[in-house]
């Protein structure tokens, strides 16, 4: 629409199991170097799954500078603050006089570190003879032992507060938590905030770590995560027939979204444009995705409509591709439904094969991957493709990165519980 405000991306900040910052991540992505290894954050030796995609070499003090709350911050705050700083630096907005009211923050962050050991010990101390919990004892022990300053940092909206304060962002803010779709949804909603005219610049993305005993236990019980403990690097294998679940990862992706003329006027380096945002809900079951991919297809179609493009214009799809049996089969089905014949030609890859599943943070990181693929002309591969699955028969860019000039990319994020988000990113054309 002429005269309508457009949204471009001018800064990228990444903290993932593949590294900190764009270059470390890109290097591992194009070389297909897995970030999955043995889980060391806690003693998982008794758990059915003992592997994860952990962020390595992250020194909070070095990344965040001096802060008096550094020991209290949850992983979601540490990672997202670091990613926001990287993105902000990358955008060159530092020297730019911005009205604080015109800068907002919209994140899709999960919870901070739930202190499971703390909880388990308090329960253990309060067990009565019948194996129930004697609540008055639990209350009094809890009252004695709780560090309230640390406890409130567990809340998922803490990163929004910290980032707003660090960058003096007085504008619109929110935090959504729609499981694995959260940070993609945050990007879409942040872009709408700019299009509507309520902000010039938005910090958008998400952060999450469910590599804690509750997350690992919960996903194990759902049989959702891979148990390929002896071959961590081979565990995440989206679309491969021998896939046995996703790999739990952690990290953050924060992007600087900026109104197009604002970015152009200040001569910013522009990674690309956020061209379309589609959402839908499966409304099917809380445990399963719709077997025909109804919701997934609808989200993609809505995003294409929003971007006013047709399927053949899409050159690359960064799939949700979790490496669970059902997701990868249904996503393939949904892509075929929306793209028809073009589904055979479009390049598809799941970078979760390399970095695992960052849960709430996955969508933002993968949107960044799409922008880098467009800019650098290389499509990161889906690694661990060894045994073709007849139900997954598209071009998943197996095992080796591929050079390809792509102008428009689509990124899928489907949340547990049925929220589907699709983003369309394109090369920037003045």
């Amino acid at each position: 629409m002429s005269g309508q405000r457009r949204v471009v991306i001018t800064g990228i900040g990444l903290v993932t199991p593949l590294g900190i910052g764009i270059e470390q991540n890109w290097d591992s992505l194009v070389n297909g170097r897995s970030g999955i290894s043995r889980l060391t954050h806690f003693n998982a030796s008794g758990f059915p799954t003992r592997i994860a995609g952990q962020v390595k070499g992250f020194n909070a003090r070095r990344m965040l500078g001096p802060r008096d709350d550094i020991d209290c911050l949850g992983a979601h705050s540490r990672f997202s603050l670091a990613a926001a700083r990287l993105a902000h630096e990358d955008s060159g907005l530092g020297g730019c006089a911005l009205k604080p009211e015109r800068v907002g923050v919209y994140l899709g962050c999960g919870e901070g570190d739930p202190s499971f050991l703390w909880l388990a010990r308090r329960i253990s101390e309060s067990l009565d003879a019948d194996g129930g919990v004697f609540i008055p004892r639990f209350l009094s022990r809890g009252m004695e032992m709780l560090n309230p300053r640390k406890d409130i940092e567990y809340e998922p909206n803490k990163p929004v507060y910290h980032i707003s304060n660090l960058f003096n962002a007085h504008g619109p803010n929110s935090n959504c938590l729609t499981a694995c779709a959260a940070s993609a949804q945050a990007l879409g909603e942040a872009a709408c905030t700019i299009v509507r005219g309520d902000a010039e610049v938005m910090f958008a993305g998400g952060a999450h770590s469910m590599i804690h005993p509750m997350g690992l236990a919960g996903f194990s019980l759902l049989n959702a995560i891979s148990t390929r403990n002896d071959e961590p690097e081979k565990a995440s294998r989206p679309f491969d027939q021998k896939r046995d679940g996703f790999v739990l990862s952690e990290g953050a992706g924060v992007l600087i979204l900026e109104e197009e003329s604002h970015a152009a006027h200040r001569g910013a380096r522009i990674y690309g444009e956020l061209l379309g945002y589609g959402c839908s809900s499966d409304a099917y079951r809380i445990t399963d995705i719709h077997p025909d991919g109804r919701g997934a297809a609808q989200a993609m179609q809505n995003a294409l409509n929003d971007a006013r493009i047709s399927p053949p214009q899409v050159g690359y799809i960064n799939a949700h591709g979790t490496s669970t049996q059902i997701n990868d089969r249904v996503e393939t089905l949904a892509i075929k439904k929306v793209f028809g014949e073009h589904s055979r030609a479009v390049l598809i890859s799941s970078t979760k094969s390399i970095m695992g599943h960052l849960i709430a943070a996955a969508g933002a990181v993968e949107a960044a991957v799409c922008l880098l693929a467009i800019g650098r002309g290389i499509i990161p591969p889906t690694i661990n493709q060894e045994h073709p699955d007849p139900d997954c028969d598209l071009d998943y860019v197996p095992n080796k990165a591929r050079e390809a000039k792509v102008d428009i990319a689509l990124s899928n994020s489907f949340g547990f519980g049925g929220q589907n988000i699709c983003l369309i990113l394109s090369r920037y054309r003045g």
Binding site: A120, S281, A283
Partner: protein, 431 residues
């Protein structure tokens, strides 16, 4: 990206509250100055410094949930959400309305759900080592199998929206906002944006929460923000009153049906009010005991008023966040004065939290619903227990319910962790 600018109205309301299990019961008891605060009965609080809360009483989930099996995966927050959504959908006549399921969305505010210690107990009991201490390795091997397989699904905040989307075959946009106590106000604002820009025609929105749990009680006690007036529960929540000593935890759900104005008109739906403005701002320095400036709360109100295109002079009522914590009530009062100047003294400001406590993530929806009902009935609820003037809180806090002709009203919802939301409602009769 496509962006339209359509008008949005409220066409249905549903309530599960400490004052009753329906819209009408809630409103009648609210205006009759009943209190929903009493001693905690959900668990044994013996010996704990705070033993009072505003519980939902007489709630039978099976009245609202047909499949007994689904109850196994629905904790109390989810049951409240489903029950209130049902009333709101019925109230709006969604059952008889013809619409495309892809144009019906669900946007809720919720919190991270507190793990129930009793539910974990069998797994923890199984995981004690020879020294009697909890052993994580043992938990992995012997504890995990003791847990309910779908245990995780009871902890995820987006599950409230999932359950309701399934019930109403809502295939449109789904979002869940987790911004603490401002969650449902944020959610309603986001739902308003989605319909306005053309992303949906109808959205079930609001919030639900059941924070009366041992873990939340411990947290708020340690933060020093809970009222300890155990001997006079009904007097404990007293927003803006000089004798206030902290907030009272409440629980419940407030749900609304937001609808595109022409869509509602075309099907002859009853309209409660038009939602015209939404603004949000983060506290620039916060934390209990920390120094906070009121300007960020004022910014949220100003942004919402500017968004609505309403002159500040046409705001005739403010439904305050007012949760009875000494410093937050003071800050809200300062922020209102910052926005309106001398006119602040002429605007009635009341907080329904005096009667229902602070429903956390559901509180904003409750405030907004009370405005929607007040607009239609021409009377506003009071600030219960407002008796003694605090020199720093010197506005008109409406000590008794009163009749009032309202053109527009502001609803405030401020999270304790620093996110502030204001919404503006406009009387649908006024155009």
């Amino acid at each position: 990206m496509i962006q339209k600018k359509r008008r949005v109205v409220i066409s249905g309301v549903g309530v599960i509250s400490p004052l009753g299990l329906s819209r009408d019961e809630f409103w009648t008891n609210l205006m009759a100055r009943k209190s929903g605060v009493a001693g905690i009965t959900l668990f044994d609080t013996a010996g704990f410094p705070t033993r009072i809360a505003a519980e939902v009483k007489g709630f039978d989930p099976l009245k609202y949930i047909e499949k007994k099996k689904s109850l196994k995966v629905m904790i109390r927050d989810m049951q409240f959400a489903v029950a209130a959504a049902r009333e709101a959908a019925g109230d709006a006549g969604l059952g008889n309305a013809r619409f495309d399921p892809e144009r019906l969305g669900v946007v809720f505010g919720a919190s991270m759900i507190s793990t129930d210690p009793c539910e974990l107990a069998p797994a923890i009991a199984q995981s004690r080592g020879e020294d009697g201490q909890f052993d994580l390795t043992k938990f992995g091997v012997e504890g995990i199998p003791k847990l309910f397989p779908l245990w995780l699904l009871k902890q995820l905040p987006n599950m409230l929206a999932s359950h309701v989307a399934i019930m109403y075959n809502a295939q449109g946009p789904s979002n869940t906002i987790t911004s603490g106590c401002s969650s449902s106000a944020h959610a309603i604002g986001e739902a308003f944006r989605i319909i306005s820009r053309g992303g949906a025609d109808l959205i079930i929105t609001g919030g639900a929460s059941s924070c009366i749990t041992p873990l939340k009680l411990i947290r708020y006690h340690r933060l020093g923000v809970l009222s300890k007036r155990n001997d006079a529960p009904e007097k404990a929540s007293r927003p803006f009153d000089a004798g206030r000593d902290g907030f009272v935890i409440g629980e419940g759900a407030g749900m609304l049906i937001l609808e595109e104005r022409e869509h509602a008109r075309a099907r002859g739906a009853r309209v409660y009010a038009e939602i015209t403005g939404y603004g949000s701002a983060v506290d620039m320095q916060s934390g209990p005991g920390g120094s906070i400036e009121p300007s960020s709360k004022a910014r949220a109100m100003r942004a919402a008023i500017a968004d609505s295109g309403t002159p500040a002079g046409e705001i005739d009522y403010i439904s305050a966040h007012g949760n009875s914590i000494p410093f937050t009530d003071r800050l809200e009062t300062m922020a209102i004065k910052e926005v309106w100047g001398p006119r602040a003294y002429e605007i009635p400001v009341s907080s329904i939290k005096g009667q229902i406590g602070d429903l956390g993530p559901a509180s904003g929806a409750m405030g907004l619903i009370s405005i929607a009902l007040a607009l239609g009935r021409g009377s506003i609820p009071c600030t219960y227990n407002y008796e003694t003037k605090d020199p720093e809180c010197d506005l008109d806090y409406v000590p008794r319910p009163r009749e009032a002709a309202i053109r527009c009203a502001v609803c405030n919802s401020f999270d304790f962790m620093g996110q502030n939301v204001s919404l503006v409602l406009r009387n649908a009769e006024s155009d």
